[in-house]
């Protein structure tokens, strides 16, 4: 499957209608589907929601494109619904959380390997080690609150161990920022940043919605703590995006990003029913890109090739275990810290982060408390032979 962003037209926007029953189809099986089917669902829901978000911002900033933006958003809304409703109701919010962190880890690891810009690649690895640590903390909560093994969600693909401890993720806001890519950056670089920003946004919003659903006080604290870090990650990835891009240029990139990711999903999906959905939505997005291309040409009077290059899609995200890459990154970069937009050694961390961290951790660290002495064990820590009955 070779897609040309500048030539393939997909499904015309006017033909992209879905009924409520089409949107609410059969969910995946938590027990039988591959973990990476869930990872792709989580990713694509995040990208649809971010595509909506980008267009809502565009609506506030652009008079010319209002009608087209409204039309595009209606379809994106229904695509997001169709995708997100694939998650079965037997996932507890905490089990879905484990899925979110696995998605963050494996997608970020793949992007870090693909990213041609060495500075941004380091930035991906940096946040990777934090989402990786979140998986460990949430796994401890799942074990100790619900009595469940997180491996039944990650299915052996992703290690459940600490990395850079969550207690150290809390930075002063000025140290969350990164240097943005510039207009000459590779299309891959731009799509990577748009993808991770959308994924983190979704994770943050999910934690903010489900955090209050927990009764347990430490669970409520843990979601409060990690939602705050995910908010930092939105800033981390969002600040990669070139702030000098016009609104319509961002629209073009958002559509290209969805195409790139849907194409990757089509190529790698193991569930035939879900694969058919990815194919359908890939065609929808090619139709959306046609609208974005026309707006870009009509109102900006610019050649889309300035943004999309020769129209070929960059290498796809690989939906697979990145165990060895993550292990190497843990070994080499766990001690990295931030000072402004720079990655520095522990001793050179921006001082305002220390003061900030002292304040938020003043009454204790939820992530440390929940995972005290926690070692992941198949079947939960209650299976451990040394545990007194």
């Amino acid at each position: 499957m070779t897609i040309d962003l500048l030539k393939d037209t997909g499904t015309p926007l006017a033909q992209q209608r879905m009924s409520w029953k089409e949107m609410v189809g059969k969910p995946i099986s938590k027990l039988d589907d591959d973990a990476f089917t869930r990872v792709r669902i989580i990713l694509m829901n995040g990208l649809e929601l971010d595509s909506l978000r980008t267009k809502q911002v565009a609506l506030r900033m652009n008079r010319d494109a209002r009608v087209e933006l409204a039309q595009l958003m209606r379809v994106e809304q229904h695509q997001a619904t169709t995708i997100n409703w694939l998650i079965g109701a037997d996932h507890s919010p905490l089990e879905t959380t484990i899925g979110y962190e696995q998605a963050a880890i494996e997608i970020t690891a793949s992007v870090a390997e693909l990213e041609p810009d060495t500075y941004l690649a380091c930035a991906y690895r940096y946040a990777l080690l934090e989402d990786f640590d979140h998986l460990y903390r949430y796994s401890a909560l799942l074990d100790r609150l619900e009595g469940k093994d997180a491996n039944n969600i990650v299915q052996g693909y992703t290690d459940i161990v600490p990395a850079r401890p969550t207690i150290l993720h809390h930075r002063a806001p000025e140290h969350d920022l990164l240097r943005p890519y510039d207009s000459k950056a590779a299309l891959a670089t731009k799509l990577h940043a748009v993808t991770l920003t959308g994924a983190e946004f979704q994770t943050h919003d999910y934690y903010m919605n489900i955090g209050p659903l927990y009764a347990d006080p430490l669970a409520r604290q843990l979601y409060a703590e990690i939602a705050s870090v995910e908010s930092q990650h939105i800033t981390h990835y969002g600040s990669m995006l070139n702030p000098d891009e016009s609104v319509l240029e961002k629209l073009l990139l958002a559509e290209a990003c969805e195409i790139w990711n849907y194409a990757a999903c089509v190529e790698q999906e193991s569930n035939p029913r879900v694969k058919a959905l990815w194919e359908r939505f890939l065609d929808f997005e090619l139709g959306h890109l046609q609208v974005a291309l026309k707006l870009f040409k009509d109102f900006e009077r610019r050649d889309p090739a300035e943004v999309l290059g020769n129209g070929r899609l960059p290498d796809f995200i690989k939906f697979k275990s990145h165990r060895e890459f993550v292990r190497q990154t843990i070994a080499r970069e766990t001690s990295l810290r931030k000072d402004g937009t720079q990655f520095v050694n522990e001793r050179d961390e921006g001082r305002s982060s220390t003061a900030y961290r002292d304040a938020v951790n003043a009454d204790g660290s939820p992530s440390s408390a929940v995972s005290e002495t926690y070692s992941w064990t198949p079947g939960t820590e209650l299976m451990r032979a040394d545990l007194a009955a």
């Binding site: 039988d32 589907d33 430490l218 604290q221 165990r323 929940v370 005290e372 002495t373 198949p378």
Partner: protein
């Protein structure tokens, strides 16, 4: 509807032993086992419990609001009127949700019987299997399973309305949500999720209803005792009758479940 059969379940350590070994290698390197302590978890719980507000208050009796508390709750003996109202509210909530659970269960039964024919035995035939003393009640005689399901649903609704009348007689407001009503509804959320999920089988749904009926039986027993203790013999009689009906529901649900898992394994009902 599909039978629950062996397949490509991807959970558990045995599915991918080499990957699990690598996960354990990572654990041994990066978070090696030490004696388990959940002290900090426990400490947080204790601190929050000590400092917690309650989930909410018991609504004051309507007659108390009007300032004319001459009958009803004022005549209760030996039982806290507020506690009695709270527990009445709990049963009101449970019977109301129970009616809705049976609505969902009847849909599941109809879908299954439309596709597969009747998979449940008549209710009267399961009494021995349920191990209950005595004969099958007359109410179950000659009923089809669908008629039995609809009768049970009607009885849940009847209990709900009887409780509303009892609460009103005592000066309470049956439409208010008492703290125990709120808590039992929270506890029941999983039952609603299981029975309303199109993927769950009849047996899995009956298992969830069994949880409800067991709780319901214990709830009616307690309410009857409270009414006796409070000197409310009329109420106690009504509650005793409801308990009898609920005991029958429990026996039927339990019997159906036992029949399905012993005789129908591998069919779409199980």
């Amino acid at each position: 509807m599909e039978a629950t059969t062996p397949g490509h379940n991807r959970t558990g350590a045995a599915v991918s032993p080499s990957e699990i070994q690598r996960m354990q290698d990572a654990v041994n390197t990066l978070s090696p086992p030490t004696p388990i302590s959940t002290r900090q978890f426990d400490t947080e719980r204790l601190a929050y419990i000590a400092d917690a507000d309650n989930v909410g208050s018991i609504p004051p009796p309507a007659s108390l609001v009007k300032g004319t508390l001459k009958k009803g709750l004022a005549r209760l003996k030996g039982v806290s009127p507020n506690l009695f109202l709270d527990k009445l509210g709990e049963r009101i909530a449970f019977e109301r949700t129970g009616t809705r659970l049976y609505d969902a269960l009847i849909s599941k039964y109809l879908a299954l019987s439309n596709a597969e024919g009747d998979v449940l035995p008549p209710a009267e035939s399961v009494f021995d299997a349920a191990g209950l003393p005595g004969e099958a009640p007359a109410s179950a005689a000659g009923e089809t399973p669908l008629e039995t399901l609809r009768r049970i649903r009607a009885e849940e609704l009847g209990h709900f309305r009887m409780l509303c009348d009892s609460t009103t007689q005592l000066g309470g407001d049956p439409t208010a949500q008492t703290p125990c009503a709120d808590v039992i509804a929270t506890a029941s959320m999983g039952l609603v999720q299981v029975i309303s999920d199109p993927r769950t089988t009849m047996a899995q749904s009956l298992n969830a209803i069994l949880t409800a009926e067991l709780t319901d039986n214990a709830g009616w027993e307690l309410l009857e005792e409270l009414a006796e203790e409070a000197g409310q013999s009329d109420l106690a009689d009504r509650f005793s009758q409801a308990l009898g009906a609920e005991q029958e529901h429990l026996a039927i649900v339990s019997g159906w479940l036992r029949t399905l898992v012993t005789d129908e394994a591998g069919t779409p009902a199980v």
